[in-house]
Amino acid sequence: MEADASLLISAVVSGLLLGGFYAAVSVGVAISFGMLDIVNIAHPAFILLGSYVAFIGNTVFGIDPILSVMITLPAFYLLGMLAYQVYYVAFERRDDQSLRGLSFFFGLLFIAEVGLILVFGVDYRSVQAWYVSGNLNLGVVELPWRLLVPFLLGLAMVGALQIFLARTFIGRAIQAVAQDQQALRLMAADPTKIKRIAFGLSFATAALGGAAMIIIQPIEPSIGREYIGRIFAICVLGGLGSFPGMVIAALTLGVVENITATFFGPSWAPAVSFGVLLITLAVRPSGILGR
């Protein structure tokens, strides 16, 4: 009994930490899908691109994995802008968004993944840093640094973006653009430019999410696929357009998955998380904090 309780506590705590990491990889989709209504299923491929940047910075130049990604953030921002611009010219401008737009991102996912395989092969890669091993001992619980650092990174990213979205003119325009593009023009804002900026930010968060991912686990190019369902589930569960909702959903999923894995075995975890999604949506179709 005693042992079960401490097992439960540790499952909850590391589940919360895992949830913070889920927030880190989901926040970009909370922007592109939650705010722009663009289903970028290629997002996880760019998370992995971020992981490989961290890997190269770390193994070739001996730099800290997170710092490696930080240095290349402007490049990811521009890459995101470019991806949106291509999508805009090829699909959105022609009012051809839904189905063929999805095929565009499918193609992008495929190209990015094949590119990563060609360049990096299919071997598992990992990074070295002081926080990849060891624990923070808090007496009652021990927090592994390799979970704690991604957790903090995730919360810092969400917090910074939340402030940006709520307090700046561009941020508010990003929240508004999918609701009524024509009306946004009447605010003197160019909707295409606003979406380009948002997409750039989304890609930049993917890169940082990638640094978090390679800290938590060794990666290989196809690992991103495991995350597509989970990331979209978190965004829908939290309520589209709501960062706080997305974080609550990410933490919930982390905890539920971890408890399930601890007591019933890891293979049950995905089933349970989608169960949580289905039940929540049955009770609250707009998600936890959806507007």
Partner: protein, 243 residues
């Protein structure tokens, strides 16, 4: 400084359908001009042509903002708003999932408006106390009257010099129509605006208009040089009021 608007020989429509046929009109500095006409005569098309949302096939639209003239045809909507032409569109077009305050702050996106944001927000809340009470409510959850107030206030947040208002009375109860029209007059005086207002509600519009045009089937059918001229015109009685 003076801000005015002049349309000369505007031809505009949708695809092959011609809606506006050689329309010329002007709004002088500090004037409130009513664009009168029943449903489907081209009032909104004219407003959209000014705002760059419908591209005219011929004609010119000149806006003079604080003494500087700009040709509007060929410019994008966001450029035109940025010059200082505000627009309250048909159907209000609020951001339904954003709060009242967020809608108002978006109104001030225009760089020129950002420095005056606190002052203009105060003014809007003073003029529409209801909006202040509801400042954290989602725009989409408000009543029609409140939404119309928010749409007006949001357009004012961009600190426009010329304001176009498309049918502010639509969907409002008679008492609210009267109040909304009074507010437009109040805002116009407070901000020293030049106003062009499209309306079907002749009686209400003429209460605050200095002058007016009657548009029938996309042509200017009558120009009233004063409110009395509009009130006493036989043509209007016959065609417009059906009396």
């Amino acid at each position: 400084m003076a801000s005015s608007l002049t349309l000369s020989n505007i031809v505009a429509g949708y695809g092959a359908v011609r809606v506006l046929d050689d329309v010329s009109l002007s709004v002088g500095a500090g004037e409130t001009v009513a664009l009168l006409g029943t449903n489907g005569n081209g009032k909104s098309t004219l407003m959209k042509s000014i705002m760059g949302m419908v591209r005219p096939a011929a004609g010119t639209i000149t806006a003079t903002i604080d003494g500087t003239s700009h040709e509007l045809v060929g410019r994008s909507t966001e450029e035109i708003v940025d010059l200082g032409v505000g627009f309250v569109p048909e159907g209000r077009r609020l951001f339904p999932k954003l709060t009242v305050t967020e809608n108002l702050l978006l109104g001030a996106f225009r760089p020129t408006a950002r420095s005056a944001i606190a002052k203009n927000l105060d003014f809007c809340f003073e003029t529409f106390p209801r909006l202040k009470e509801r400042s954290n409510q989602l725009a989409g959850s408000m009543s029609g009257g409140e939404q119309q107030m928010l749409a007006l206030a949001r357009a004012l947040m961009s600190a426009p010099r010329i304001l176009l208002i498309d049918e502010p009375s639509v969907g409002l109860a008679p008492l609210l129509v009267q109040r909304t029209i009074d507010k437009i007059k109040e805002l116009k005086d407070g901000f020293n605006l030049t106003v062009l207002m499209a309306e079907q509600n002749f009686t209400q519009a003429v209460r605050i208009a200095d002058r007016g045009y009657v548009i029938v089937h996309g042509k200017i059918a009558f120009t009233g040089e004063s409110a009395e001229a509009l009130n006493n015109n036989d043509l209007i009685r016959e065609f417009y009021l059906g009396a």
